[in-house]
């Protein structure tokens, strides 16, 4: 019962955050700026990214060698049922952009870790949680709302 209440409070919190903060990302999945980053997880966060959608899982990934830290946008939290830990190695393929002109960021299309590969978007950036290659994995949703 306690666990259920906690879950309910958590989901309610997510909803409030998503509605009140609205769209934060100004970037779309640009196929022209796709790159591959190999690095180690430094931090795991949940952030509202698109208007009227659930918060997204965002990780801070320190690139091997250069130690450049990227903000990697993974997927809505409800879609991602895997377990991440700080300090884990991760490879990301995604669309690169700079947040506010300075913070390197990635919209992830595919991630590889612990020998597994997880496809998050198709090659044009269409999100798999909207029914794509991972139809079996993602829950089917209706049409989304326009979000900047």
């Amino acid at each position: 019962m306690k666990r259920r209440l906690f879950l309910l409070a958590y989901l309610l919190g997510c909803l409030i955050i998503s509605v009140s903060f609205g769209q934060k990302s100004r970037h779309f999945y640009n196929v022209d700026s796709e790159k591959k980053i190999e690095g180690r997880i430094q931090d795991i966060k949940m952030e509202p990214r698109y208007k009227s959608t659930a918060p997204f899982l965002v990780i801070k990934l320190a690139e091997n060698g250069t130690q450049t830290v990227y903000n990697v946008e993974i997927s809505p939290i409800w879609f991602f049922d895997q377990d991440f830990h700080k300090g884990e190695d991760l490879t990301v393929i995604g669309s690169y952009y700079l947040t506010d002109g300075k913070t390197p960021s990635i919209i992830a299309r595919e991630i590889r870790y612990r020998g597994r590969t997880l496809a998050l978007r198709d090659k044009h950036g269409f999100p798999n949680w909207r029914g794509g290659q991972m139809k079996g994995k993602a829950r089917k949703r209706g049409k989304g709302k326009m979000g900047l």
């Binding site: 990302s25 970037h27 779309f28 999945y29 640009n30 196929v31 022209d32 990214r49 698109y50 959608t53 946008e73 809505p76 669309s95 919209i107 978007r121 198709d122 044009h124 950036g125 269409f126 999100p127 798999n128 909207r130 029914g131 794509g132 049409k143 989304g144 709302k145 326009m146 979000g147 900047l148």
Partner: protein, 413 residues
């Protein structure tokens, strides 16, 4: 025509029809699809034109791209849109799918429309420019849902498959039916031709044997007269030999008579009579012979069956069957039963004699075939002829060592 040729004869036209239907439907669907896509293209370009006019007004009134997009957020068919400046730098964008804006450097090169496939279905893309009164140029990139068109095409495809499936199923059903009908007809035709040939052969044989019988009968009559005269003048002691000769002549005459009657076509002289009358007649005429052989005749007649048939011939049929049964029996009982079911009358003669072998049973009704040493093989043949002349049927059930039953069924009663 071989069996394979029949199949080809029926299936090739069906296959041809299906190919023509398939080709015609495919071309038709392709033509309609092309036309519809063209119409959609025109319609969407017109929509883009309206949007551009609205955008121009709003930009002129210094609305930010975010505010402008907000005006069109209720448009569910617009999956995504982006506003770009004259250097093709994105000023703002919106998408129904998080982060999805399939815009690349390649797609920004020229103003054009194109269709892309996505997991959300086909999307009509339009990239075109518009300018404000101050000559400032903007570009509008639109992604318009073609879900309804796709749904329509899908329904059309489904209907086509359904109709095609029905045509194939019905076609196969009718072809198989026609093929079977044709095979049945040809088999019947073959049987009929065989029967015709058999009848002709029988007619030829009848004519020949009738001629032979007639030719034998004349000298035989003379011979009978001679023996009659000889018996009056014969010296004593030879009477017995002459009587034996006369008996042999009578036997030959009887055989020729039977022969002739079996070859003649059966002519029915129909009259109304009680079936139990002929049963009683036959019983009475063969009672002495039965007693001599130690065989009991038992009759079980269904009462008051009135038949419209040839009484004399039916009596002959029953007489032949009961006589055969007595000859096959060594003691025991011969049963004569009559019955009626719906509009058919049945007469059965059952004995408890030696029965027939399978081969004998198969050939029982053939002319000149007999299981008895002294038989000519005409009795059962005649019986069958008479029954068939009455549009009836005769068949026998026999088991070796247990006896035989002949069952006659004739219409009427």
């Amino acid at each position: 025509m071989k069996r394979q040729n029949y199949l080809l004869f029926f299936y090739i036209p069906l296959l041809g029809f299906m190919i023509i239907f398939f080709a015609f439907s495919s071309l038709n669907r392709s033509y309609i699809k092309g036309k519809v896509e063209k119409l959609v293209d025109e319609q969407l370009q017109a929509t883009a034109g309206i949007l551009k006019v609205n955008f121009s007004h709003l930009l002129k009134e210094n609305y930010t791209p975010e505010h402008i997009f907000a005006q069109f957020s209720a448009e569910e068919d617009i999956y995504y849109m982006a506003l770009l400046d004259e250097n093709k730098q994105i000023l703002g964008w919106r998408s129904q799918f998080e982060g999805y804006l399939p815009l690349s450097e390649e797609s920004l090169k020229t103003e054009r429309t194109w269709i892309i496939d996505s997991p959300a279905g086909k999307i009509f893309n339009s990239f075109s420019s518009f300018s404000l009164a101050n000559s400032r140029v903007y570009y509008l990139y639109l992604g318009y849902s073609l879900a309804e068109l796709e749904e329509m095409m899908l329904r059309s495809r489904k209907n086509f498959h359904l109709i095609f499936g029905i045509i194939v199923a019905v076609g196969i059903f009718f072809s198989v039916g026609l093929y079977r009908l044709q095979v049945h007809y040809l088999n019947k035709k073959r049987e009929w031709e065989e029967e015709k040939r058999e009848k002709q052969r029988y007619r030829d044989m009848s004519a020949l044997t009738s001629g032979v019988a007639h030719e034998i009968k004349n000298p035989l009559n003379s011979l009978a007269l001679l023996f009659e005269l000889l018996s009056k003048k014969a010296p004593s002691g030879t009477e017995e030999d002459i009587a034996s000769g006369k008996e042999q002549i009578r036997r030959i005459s009887r055989i020729i008579d039977q022969f002739s009657s079996s070859l003649r076509p059966v002519e029915l002289r129909k009259e109304k009579f009680l079936l139990e009358d002929i049963v009683s007649d036959v019983h009475a005429s063969l009672a002495r012979e039965a007693t001599k052989k130690g065989v009991q005749i038992q009759c079980a007649s269904y009462p008051d069956i009135v038949l419209l048939a040839d009484k004399g011939l039916l009596r002959q049929v029953l007489h032949n069957l009961v006589k055969n049964a007595l000859e096959a029996s060594d003691g025991g009982t011969v049963f004569i039963r009559t019955g009626r079911e719906k509009k058919r009358v049945s007469i059965s003669v059952q004995d408890t004699g030696k029965g027939m072998t399978k081969g004998e049973k198969k050939r029982a009704f053939e002319p000149f075939f007999s299981g008895k040493k002294s038989g000519m093989g005409i009795g059962l043949y005649l019986v069958q002829k008479i029954v068939q002349a009455h549009e009836g049927q005769i068949h026998c059930v026999s088991e070796e060592g247990k006896g035989t039953t002949f069952i006659i069924e004739i219409p009427g009663g």
